[in-house]
């Protein structure tokens, strides 16, 4: 895309009223959500610098950590592939799916969110091969139905209003028109549930790979990520090769920043740690280079620290005006303007000119990437070219010839002070002649400046002219005579955290769990079954999916409640025992095990989980080691949710809409 086309797209976006309405509607919320979430993390400044150091170290010795990751993942029974570029990735993908080919019907691929898949244009290729590919993230599903690309890396349909989605569902899915967001969400749930249950292959992205364990972490809110990694017989995880942390502690650090930055949550509804395939399942990890090694060896290396939270998009005043599509790249916004040129080549360099270098992106970045600096590097042509050589392209890509000419002249003048002073006189005369009666000059719109503002006349007497005279009449006062200020820098957030006692932890868990939309029913250890039975009876529920050895099953039978251990679409309630709870985020940890327990916390509309108060940990960092002995674990933080339509929080997408903790004292 050349700069002329980019400018045209900017103008088109600005004059697109529907887009402007959609972007304006949630512009503030996209920013305030993040700021509010960080207020609950008193040491966020230190964490941010630690996170940056972690990412810098990983990128510094990337090959070493990748090797460690691959070795550990392979030992865990994952099948790891490396692809140098998009073509190779597609080839590997087709080799995996080729084995799965079934007769009579096209292969069904259920996808959760993956920017890497967008990067290699996976859907298009798979569809051309006769497969049926379904995006299952609500936002992605919407843009797929519209035949579009995501306009934001976290909220793909942020460019649309609810009535547009309602109209789309009406046309494409044959449901009556509605602009009620919960109704539309429910429609998507119904349609996509069928896809999850029958898909041959599940495809997901990866938020982090963990080198020391060989596991992968996937963060989602709707539950589709859990579905595609749990239900289909084959799971393929697409991962950018730079998305590594070394240890679980580092993962905990990153996860304290990522959801806060992305969606303003302390923890997303589902934080999965996947280490091994489930019984009867095949898991692949596809590591993609596609320019990342080249980027790593370039002056844009810092852009590889990115953890894809989208905060810089939300903070960016350019993105706010034009949305994601105008960038015409998989990666829009400030980070997109850097990595698009960095990964895909100089045709994306003009994107970097659309920034006032205001620095809002750097400020929002959870790993403190100096985006304004990187943008000036892209502008200066310091990008790796596609042919493996550092680009020799000249700077100023995307500038109009007039600006370039003016700036070159200005440089000449500025290095010749007398000429500079003389040109100031000419400039005064010029602007005076243009506007002899008013101090402000009205320039025509084509000058750019004249489009929306006037220009003051140059000063007749410059500061330089004043200087000599001003030396003479200097009145002097001593510093000591003046009041000396003793202002202290006020920290934005006050550290309120003190040492918490055990009981505090329980209370904090209840508070946080309730805040994210969960419910707590207190009981005692020996009364758990009675309490659950009582609950089920008041709801009139007679059939549950129950994890073994959690409740007294004789009591259940006597109460007339049937028990299943396998997935069954008719069952509305799943009952499990949580491995632990997290006090600071209000989360419970569930993992794979006998009797399809992972599904019991995923497929039914209502999930009941038993948690002992003694199993409540202060934070994620304390509990992550528990995942080491699991094949697939998930920290659940409230009910399944989405904000994909107008960022309106809607509960109960693909996972349970209601989660209740039976807290056993």
């Amino acid at each position: 895309m050349n700069s002329h086309q980019f400018r045209a797209r900017i103008r088109k976006s600005l004059s697109n009223e529907a887009l402007q309405a959609a972007l304006d509607a949630n512009a503030e919320r996209r920013v305030t959500g993040r700021i509010t979430a960080f207020a609950s993390l008193p040491d966020w400044r230190e964490r941010r610098q630690q996170a940056r150091a972690v990412r810098a170290e990983v990128i510094e010795r990337l090959e070493e950590y990748l090797e460690r990751f691959i070795k550990n993942a392979a030992q865990n029974g994952m099948i790891v592939h490396r692809a140098a570029n998009a073509d190779e990735a597609i080839k590997i993908f087709l080799e995996i799916t080729g084995v799965q080919r079934r007769f009579g019907a096209p292969l069904l691929i259920a996808k959760s969110k993956s920017m890497v898949s967008e990067e290699i244009n996976l859907n298009h290729v798979l569809e051309a091969q006769g497969m049926r590919v379904v995006e299952t993230d609500l936002g992605e599903y919407i843009v797929q139905l519209r035949g579009e690309r995501p306009s934001h890396i976290i909220t793909p349909a942020v460019h649309l209003r609810r009535h547009e989605v309602g109209q789309l569902f009406h046309e494409k899915l044959g449901v009556p028109y509605t602009d009620d967001i919960p109704t539309m969400t429910h429609t998507a749930r119904k349609v996509l549930r069928e896809v999850f249950l029958t898909a041959d292959v599940g495809v997901s992205g990866v938020n982090f790979g963990i080198a020391e364990t060989g596991g992968i972490c996937i963060v989602t809110n709707e539950g589709n990520g859990r579905m595609v990694t749990t239900l289909p017989p084959v799971h393929i995880a697409l991962m950018g090769m730079e998305r590594l942390v070394r240890t679980l502690d580092e993962l905990a650090l990153m996860l304290s920043l990522l959801p806060r930055s992305a969606t303003g949550q302390k923890l997303s509804a589902y934080t999965q740690i996947i280490q091994q395939p489930l019984p009867g399942q095949q898991r692949h990890i596809l590591l993609l280079d596609n320019g990342r090694s080249r980027l790593r060896n370039s002056l844009l290396r810092e852009s590889l620290y990115c953890i894809r939270c989208g905060a810089c998009l939300n903070a960016c005043p350019v993105f706010r005006e034009i949305g994601g599509h105008a960038y015409e790249s998989v990666y829009p916004g400030p980070i997109g303007s850097v990595i698009s040129a960095g990964l895909f080549g100089s045709e994306f360099a003009p994107l970097a000119q659309a920034s006032s270098l205001c620095g809002a992106c750097k400020e929002a970045c959870p790993v403190d990437i100096d985006l304004p600096k990187l943008l000036t590097r892209v502008r200066a042509g310091k990008i790796p070219a596609n042919n493996d050589r550092l680009s020799a392209s000249r700077g100023g890509a995307g500038l109009t010839p007039l600006s370039k000419f003016f700036l070159e002249i200005y440089s000449r003048l500025a290095t010749h002070p007398r000429l500079f002073a003389l040109s100031q006189k000419f400039a005064w005369l010029g602007t005076f002649l243009l506007s002899p009666f008013r101090a402000q000059v009205r320039l025509p719109a084509f000058t750019g400046w004249g489009y929306s503002k006037d220009l003051p006349r140059f000063a007749r007497r410059t500061f330089r002219d004043y200087w000599e005279g001003s030396r003479l009449n200097a009145g002097k006062v001593r510093v000591a005579d003046l009041q000396v200020g003793n202002e202290k820098h006020q920290p934005l957030f006050v550290n309120k955290s003190t040492r918490r006692t055990f009981d505090d932890g329980v209370e904090q868990f209840i508070e946080e769990w309730t805040r994210v939309g969960g419910r707590v029913i207190r009981t005692s250890k020996d009364k758990v079954t009675d309490k659950v039975v009582e609950f089920l009876q008041t709801k009139g529920i007679r059939h549950i999916h129950l994890e073994p050895n959690v409740l007294d099953e004789d009591v259940l039978q006597k109460a007339g409640i049937a028990i299943s251990r396998e997935r069954d679409s008719e069952i509305r309630v799943g009952v499990t025992r949580a491995l632990c709870g997290l006090a600071d985020t209000g989360s419970v940890l569930e993992a794979d095990g006998e009797g399809g327990k992972l599904l019991a916390s995923l497929l039914p509309e209502l999930h009941l989980t038993i948690l002992n108060v003694s199993e409540i940990y202060p934070s994620l960092q304390d509990a992550l080691p528990l995942t080491r002995s699991t094949k697939s674990a998930v920290f659940i933080t409230g009910p399944s949710r989405t904000g994909d339509i107008e960022m309106s929080h809607t509960i109960g997408v693909h996972g349970p809409g209601e989660v209740i903790v039976f807290l056993a004292v």
Partner: protein
């Protein structure tokens, strides 16, 4: 007696000489001797930001040479602070030069030495001199726009606010969404006029919401831009540099 070098900036020199005068008057009142090298021009930021590093180089080299020349009153062993009435130009000289000369062994040490002497005006007053009350007087309501490079580039915000808080007669009100860019961005305002106009309009409506007749800035770039927009829209509000407020008695 402290001596400082004033880097007036090209915008003050060419458009707002009164800002430069105000700076000199403030500093002298505080007993600071001000030196101004007449051959200073532009720091090179417009070219650097546009990606034209080849032509930014000589501008930066020129600026370094000029500012390396110590005032005659000082001994060669003495260090002289550089005061700049613009967070943006200070940001360029302090941080941008390091980037510009990163792989130039001849110029990098000189850029680093210069960087350590650079102060934005309000930073110098509050952090270096420890002064927050200049005995200034300004009657009426004012509101402050923290320019992007001052706020996020230099991390300067409490200093100008502390200084304004002590201005007699002035009621300082908060500007809504103050931290948002006004849309100047140097050549950006010319290269992407439509985007720039959107932000400018938003800044102006936020200013109107304060009902303050005066917008105070610490950067002449934002002043040029916002004042130009106000004039185009025939709005009565005025934009002044904080130095002019502080010099007023």
């Amino acid at each position: 007696m402290t001596t400082v070098q004033l880097f007036a900036t090209c915008l003050v020199d060419s458009f707002y000489p009164q800002t430069g005068e105000a700076v000199v008057s403030i500093l002298r009142r505080l007993g600071v001797d001000v030196e101004f090298a007449r051959d200073q021009t532009c720091c090179g930021q417009p070219n650097f930001n546009a990606g034209l590093r080849a032509s930014a180089h000589p501008m930066a080299e020129h600026t370094i040479r000029v500012l390396e020349r110590l005032p005659k009153s000082l001994k060669t062993s003495e260090v002289c602070d550089i005061v700049i009435p613009s967070g943006s130009c200070a940001h360029m000289i302090k941080h941008g030069y390091i980037e510009l000369f990163a792989d130039d062994p001849a110029w990098l040490p000189r850029a680093q030495a210069l960087a350590s002497r650079v102060y934005e005006l309000t930073e110098f007053l509050v952090d270096k001199l420890g002064v927050t009350d200049l005995g200034a007087r300004w009657d009426g309501t004012v509101t402050y726009h923290p320019s992007c490079h001052t706020l996020r580039g230099m991390g300067i915000d409490r200093q100008p606010r502390a200084l304004l808080a002590n201005v007699r007669g002035a009621t300082v009100v908060d500007l809504p969404h103050a931290e948002e860019c006004c849309g100047f961005g140097g050549i950006f305002s010319v290269e992407h006029p439509e985007l720039s106009a959107e932000w400018l309009n938003r800044k102006i409506s936020n200013l109107e919401a304060t009902q303050s007749p005066t917008l105070v800035v610490a950067d002449s770039g934002c002043r040029l831009h916002i004042a130009g927009g106000l004039h185009r829209q025939k709005k009565p509000q005025k934009v002044v540099h904080i130095a002019e407020v502080l010099a007023n008695q």
